[in-house]
Point group: C2
Chain length 128, copies 2
């Protein structure tokens, strides 16, 4: 039986109150600053538990995993390689084409991750 502890509630509230993609360390620091410090191992375990309960979503980037609210529709991400900004986009046609190419190969899809790298509008304009 999975328990809803004060630590997990704090993690969930914190992420749900924002629109960011948090890593474990950022959350530990932010929660400490907010007056609800918790051990870093508890942060990792809490995030994993909340995700498998469907209460959080995550994206696995090259170096670390980032968590976000789960109450948004499925979307993918564009990441600015200059300023680190993470933008979201949803594209139904891309989604369905993925399913069809997988089906063509007899592949049973359980998930996917699409990340576009480049320069966001602001950083693109820096170089003008």
């Amino acid at each position: 039986m999975v328990k809803l502890t004060s630590q997990r509630q704090a993690l969930l509230d914190f992420i749900n109150a924002s629109n960011r993609h948090w890593d474990a360390d950022e959350l530990a620091r932010a929660l400490a600053d907010a007056g609800t410090p918790m051990g870093i191992a508890t942060v990792y375990r809490g995030l994993a538990a909340l995700e498998s309960a469907g209460l959080l979503d995550s994206i696995q980037l090259a170096d670390k995993k980032r968590y976000e609210r789960a109450d948004k529709a499925h979307h993918d991400h564009m990441i600015c390689t200059d300023c680190g900004a993470i933008e979201e986009f949803a594209h139904p046609t891309i989604e369905s084409l993925q399913l069809s190419v997988a089906a063509d190969r007899g592949f049973t899809v359980s998930g996917h991750q699409l990340v576009i790298f480049g320069l966001c509008r602001g950083c693109s304009n820096q170089g003008l």
Copy 2:
């Protein structure tokens, strides 16, 4: 000036002779078995140098980076979460839709990574 050493040549030859997606450790072991052992740090540095020279491609998976030949056209990957098989696919429409959605947001694309997770045909049929 970047030097083409015997170690780097061995790495390149080894990967070009195969169709796999290698991680650094697999390469170190395979090269040792093949009679051209080299330090693991040399493997990492060699792979990075060859990739930035455009002689190798890579995909960054959750836990580790995997290298493959660069003489194939751009493609994305489907990974079987059961047996670990990595299949390749190319889909021009998905590619161009990515560029258009990025352009819509003023995003200058430098690259992307699309990975589809699920069960390959063989593993899908296991559960029948």
